[in-house]
Symmetry: C2
Subunit: 350 residues, 2 copies
């Protein structure tokens, strides 16, 4: 059972929750948009479900500071290093991308790299802010000191699921948004299957000896280990692991945030986030037309199954978001009740 | 049977071949180093084997110009857009990374983005030039108009194998060098197996209906299609395809090079290459120490099999290169004969 909540109501409700926790109104609105992006696009493992499970406990325990703003440590024009000072990542990652885009407009490329950040939610949402400016946005975040996945051949987890997202305009189509963990799936997908009592496909988890594990509960029991994109060594596990390290390098080593392998505590504090904006139109003409032609050719490709058109990452999410903005966002009843319990607006309305 | 060729002799020999084709001596030496990198590190599908099969035919047919230098189209300080004008990619990709590093020293980040480029060889070699400056290097190249891999659900190939490489210093250990195609394997691995008459593992090629194909010859017959990193949809094919598109966007859309989906001819001309250098030490102190600690923790990780130490991409290649620089590079006899047939130095010596 789901409740179809009008998008403006959902956004105002979550904004109200963040304001009640002490966030300034404009930042609370930006953070709410980032959180609702998950439910709007169908990436629901990174949406509202995390409000009471992840973000409100961060406020309650003082691990995020609602009033903090970034403190610039170094500014070289095209690049800025800053301390996010435990500000809510849902907001500060977008703030970083907006600043990167402003610098890119002048220098062709702009980078904002943060230490001291907190969980950013859907990485793709922040990357897409650059696409809205007609630019290409790339964002990476490590998981601070949190250790979730093992290196190939290693006995202990060492890195987080280390997300990476890139967004690019695609003409009048939804933007191309690649939004991925560098593990086969993020932990949220495994835990959602465990809660639903469903089996997971071979290739997500493996036992110590490499045998596929299809019981999602094995992950939290510690006898099913999350695999890197690529699965086994011969199908690219070292590439997935390498991409996890790429994110660790760009997101955390560059700004000097905590890294998984060197942290004393496996907890996602002092996260590193790096936002890059590329402004091709500052360097040449014709970028928007070329981008439209490229993604137009992809969706126009001859499909194997004539009933299933070819698409690109971000297309389905964009179409779904368009429908849901117009008609409402489906929210499971239990989640709606959770939201009502913490949201002043919905309490008064109910 | 292999010939153990001293590294300086091999380098001088290949430099001589490129000089004889009309490249200025310093550029010929840079290109030779990039080509020999494949054999030095063990990535032999991207080494000497390509001299007579790929690079010399490019000179012979006029698809690469030995005398061309890049022409700058736009320069915004932190970023440079240039036309490589068909210069040999083995050289111009390193030139691009060196220029990006020079800009990064001043701006914290530097980008050089090229259209009109040709095949760059091992992407990781060019990325590692930034690591030698104590920086992080990222390089991406599309395959011009060449179409090799199909989008998921598509009937026709649309993109190249679109390589991506990132390099980062690792203290006194070999640098971290992730050097990967965004397909499960590059085409060279499939064709090498076909030449050797060996089966390939399931997960590299698939038939139209998705069935795994283990006969490598099926690729050039057209009935075994190269898969994206991630393999099937439920284990991340859309991520691998998305990474292929990420490379197409950064490498080709940004500079305005030819793209696979929009090209009229499936040929790897007018390749796009983007080199990014990140200079953390321009923004903060302690980067080198933090990088050493990160990669030290990875190689110090507790292994599943006590006889097999955990490592990171680039470690084995770096150790192998160190040995071969000192003791010689093993070159298969047939390949040595091919080299002798085109190399003035070796002809005179023999």
């Amino acid at each position: 059972m789901t409740v179809l909540v009008p998008y403006p109501i959902l956004l105002a409700t979550v904004t109200g929750v963040f304001r009640e926790r002490g966030m300034p109104p404009d930042r609370a609105a930006v953070a709410a948009e980032a959180l609702c992006h998950g439910d709007l696009t169908g990436m629901s493992t990174h949406g509202l479900v995390n409000l009471t499970r992840l973000y409100l406990p961060l406020f309650d325990s003082g691990r995020t500071d609602p009033a903090a703003d970034m403190a610039v440590i170094a500014d070289l024009g095209a690049s800025v290093l800053a301390d996010a000072r435990k500000a809510l990542g849902l907001w500060s990652a977008s703030q970083a991308m907006e600043l990167a885009a402003a610098r890119a407009a002048r220098y062709g490329i702009g980078m904002v790299t943060l230490r001291g950040a907190t969980h950013i939610g859907c990485a793709g949402h922040h990357a897409a802010r650059a696409a809205a400016h007609g630019m290409v946005g790339l964002i990476v975040s490590n998981c601070g000191g949190q250790r979730i996945a093992r290196p190939p051949g290693g006995r202990e987890p060492m890195l987080g699921t280390n997300p990476l997202a890139l967004a690019c305009p695609a003409g009048d189509r939804p933007p191309f948004v690649l939004d991925m963990s560098t593990t086969v799936v993020p932990t949220g997908r495994v835990r959602a299957a465990a809660r639903a009592g469903e089996e997971i496909p071979p290739g997500w988890l493996a036992a110590d000896d490499g045998t596929p594990v299809t019981d999602p509960a094995a992950f939290d029991r510690g006898d099913g280990h999350l695999l890197w994109l690529g699965g086994a060594a011969e199908t690219g596990a070292y590439k997935g692991f390498g991409l996890g390290l790429l994110v660790e390098v760009l997101a955390a080593l560059v700004p000097g945030a905590t890294t998984g392998p060197t942290s004393s505590v496996s907890q996602d504090d002092d996260i590193g986030v790096t936002a890059l904006a590329f402004a091709p139109s500052a360097l040449r003409s014709g970028f928007a037309e070329d981008a439209s032609a490229l993604f137009g050719a992809v969706v126009g490709a001859l499909p194997v199954d004539p009933r299933k058109a070819v698409s690109y990452p971000g297309w389905h999410e964009g179409e779904r978001a368009r429908w849901r903005r117009a008609h409402g966002v489906p929210v499971p009843v239990e989640l709606y009740e959770e939201l009502r319990a913490v949201a002043p607006e919905l309490r008064e309305a109910g």
